[in-house]
């Protein structure tokens, strides 16, 4: 019997798009994650702008992870002109990034993803029966925002990041004031890891190719080589040689693939799988006691990867602040010369690649930006394709929920990748 399931809007994702699953009888014919958020043409409007403007302009690509754009822009432009900011500015950048990971991951875990597992339309209604969980999540998210506003001036689109470092470095006292709340949040994060490990995870696995940065000493933020679980190991400047962006008619976001191989996954689950050994001891112990181990190929368990990363970055933030001694300078000089620069940093949702070509006057001639969600889009579609047989056998409302949850596993930031998600499951 022909059957059509349609939901107007895929919710609790950042930005807007649509999803269509078409069945021939019980078998899946076609899965499309349609992204029709209006394009904003950042790569075009960056042409002719001063390189010093790039961190402020590219931050506006995404209100949830502006620091990621600022970090990738700064590193790519510093790479172009041959500058390293060095310590301790490098460490201050890590601390700022810790703030964004805490804030962004807590937003997703508690407000967007957990309601799927616990069966609520949103975090506010979830708070009626899980008040402690929601309040804890909001308070953890707040400490991430406190780091962002202390260093950056405000949480969304911080104003203190510049190519070459910062406009102003915070005094030791300003950062130390964050410690009591961070120490409390570290306990809350450990408790959250345990609590989330007891959620009911759908039994689903796929043979993904995970891609993340890998750094010889650290859990990756802004530096390292690009590696994958299937043997990719390249310098960041070879990104465009290994990966390819493709345009598809149903999306204003470009799809990325590994040349010759196809879809891949970036983000917390990829990072944890590829860098488990670089996690801080506290995070590794928390994983063991929560029964989380790698390799993990279940995308629904990505909420645990996020929980683990929150422990990681809170613990790192505490260490950075405890030993913070502000330098006498806030930034290093950026010379102007014709050059090309590349960078890839780990945004909360995965690798964020920037390439800039600048001229001798410091004006941007060309820019290429590849956000994490457009890299994951093909894998989201493949997950849906694989889970669709299960959906076909389920009652309508349950099928829609599971399809939505499958998308939300990736914490897709559709605004980044360009975007309205409308969910329609068509059965013919």
């Amino acid at each position: 019997m022909a059957r059509t399931i349609t939901v107007d809007c895929l919710t609790r994702v950042e930005g807007e798009g649509a999803l269509t699953i078409r069945f021939d009888g019980d078998s899946v014919r076609d899965v499309k994650l349609r992204i029709f958020e209006p394009p904003r043409f950042f790569e075009g409007l960056l042409r002719g702008r001063a390189l010093e403007e790039a961190p402020d302009i590219t931050a506006r690509i995404c209100g949830i992870c502006p620091v990621a754009y600022q970090m990738s822009a700064c590193h790519a432009l510093e790479d172009a002109v041959g500058i390293h900011v060095g310590e301790p500015l490098r460490t201050l950048r890590r601390l700022l990034y810790c703030g964004e990971w805490i804030s962004s991951h807590c937003l997703h875990m508690f407000m967007l993803h957990a309601p799927d597992f616990l069966g609520y339309p949103d975090a506010i209604s979830m708070a009626q029966e899980h008040a402690e969980l929601v309040r804890r999540g909001l308070r953890m998210k707040q400490v991430g925002n406190a780091i962002l506003s202390t260093i950056g001036g405000r949480e969304i689109h911080p104003v203190n990041v510049k190519v070459g470092g910062f406009y102003r470095v915070p005094a030791a006292g300003e950062l130390k004031a964050l410690l009591p709340e961070l120490i409390r949040a570290r306990d809350a994060a450990l408790e959250t890891m345990n609590e989330f490990s007891r959620l009911n995870f759908p039994d689903f696995e796929r043979d993904y190719e995970f891609v993340a940065l890998r750094h010889p000493q650290e859990y990756p933020f802004c530096e390292g080589r690009l590696v994958s679980s299937k043997g990719l190991d390249i310098e960041v400047h070879d990104f465009e040689r290994a990966f390819q962006e493709e345009q598809v008619p149903h999306s204003t976001a470009l799809h990325s693939v590994i040349k010759g191989r196809g879809a891949y996954v970036c983000g917390p689950l990829a990072r944890v799988n590829l860098n488990f050994d670089k996690l801080r001891p506290l995070a590794r112990e928390a994983a063991v006691s929560a029964g989380f181990s790698v390799p993990c190929h279940n995308p629904f368990r990505s909420i645990l990867a996020r929980a683990l990363e929150v422990i990681q970055v809170i613990d790192e933030a505490i260490e950075i602040i405890e030993s913070w001694a502000p330098p006498a300078y806030a930034s290093v000089q950026i010379p102007h010369k014709a050059a090309i620069g590349f960078s890839c940093t780990e945004a909360p949702r995965g690798i964020l690649y920037h390439r800039y070509e600048v001229d001798g006057d410091g004006l941007i001639q060309d820019a290429n930006i590849v956000p994490p969600t457009s890299q994951n889009q093909k894998s989201i579609e493949t997950d849906l394709f694989d889970i669709a047989a299960r959906l076909a056998a389920m009652p309508h409302e349950e099928a829609v929920l599971l399809a939505e949850q499958t998308v939300r596993n990736y914490d897709p930031c559709i605004s980044c990748s360009t975007h309205f998600l409308k969910l329609g499951i068509k059965r013919e």
Binding site: C9, G44, G63
Partner: protein, 263 residues
């Protein structure tokens, strides 16, 4: 979400980065209290639950850049008792309004191999260019305290207390030494509306105008000061043609200092 007797709040998104609606979720201390005062009837980024129209208060984020959105905003207006635009995209077209000074076809072909798949208008325009707007909140992004003040004012039937004077007043209030007078840093503070808390001068940098033009901006006078300080006309054009490029005083001021075309 909330009592049905409460005023119904809706949040709408057009072309934007999501940052302004995120400001609502960033009200960590107030969010649950707020949810007790209003019924969150339509907020797709936060909830699957959606209540049908009409809505007492609609917060509109983003600018109009497609034919479909130009129609959709009329639907939103029709269903909203009070419509408030939030953020530079909704109030002035946002950073994406830089396309208004350029050839959008060129932009599309820079980003997309098949521009024919892309549906976009030649301009990015403010919501008020399409429908009547009751109130606006400036900023890229908006300030969450101003957002709470506005919601509180609307549900209590009073005017919100939102300043329209310049950022300079905020520097004086916070005791920040003038970065332009004391350090020769170019600053848009004198012509920019307050609301951010003068965070850029607070970080030892000049204001870059993300709250848009203040009530009575003297952009010519400020331009002269910048030029006297050896800043180039091109730089002045760029700072005015930025996050509020299509706000009239900034649009006109920027165009006095050169063309945005870049070949």
């Amino acid at each position: 979400m909330g009592d049905h007797q409460c005023p119904k709040l809706a949040v709408w998104k057009f072309a934007s980065c999501d940052g302004c609606q995120l400001s609502l979720l960033d009200c960590e201390d107030e969010l649950l209290a707020l949810a007790g005062e209003v019924s969150i009837a339509h907020f797709p980024e936060a909830s699957r639950a959606m209540a049908p129209p009409p809505y007492d208060l609609s917060l509109v984020e983003g600018s109009i850049t497609t034919a479909r959105d130009a129609e959709r905003i009329h639907e939103v207006r029709k269903h909203s008792k009070t419509l408030v635009t939030i953020g530079a995209c909704a109030t002035a077209g946002g950073i994406q309004a830089l396309r208004n000074y350029r050839d959008v076809k060129e932009f599309t072909s820079i980003v997309y191999a098949r521009p024919d798949y892309i549906d976009t208008l030649a301009t990015s325009t403010a919501i008020a260019d399409h429908v009547p707007v009751d109130m606006e909140l400036r900023g890229c992004p908006i300030d969450k305290h101003q957002l709470l003040e506005l919601i509180s004012a609307v549900i209590n039937g009073r005017q919100p207390n939102i300043a329209t004077h310049s950022v300079c007043v905020e520097c004086k209030l916070r005791g920040t030494v003038c970065v332009m007078v004391a350090h020769g840093q170019p600053c848009l503070g004198p012509v920019t509306q307050a609301g951010c808390g003068a965070i850029c001068p607070g970080c030892d940098r000049g204001c870059y105008g993300c709250f848009g033009p203040q009530d009575t901006p003297n952009t010519d006078s400020l331009g002269k000061v910048w030029l006297q300080a050896d800043r180039q006309p091109d730089e002045l054009r760029r700072v005015f043609h930025n996050f509020n490029a299509a706000a009239e005083p900034f649009s006109e001021a920027g165009s006095k200092y050169g063309q945005d075309d870049h070949s």
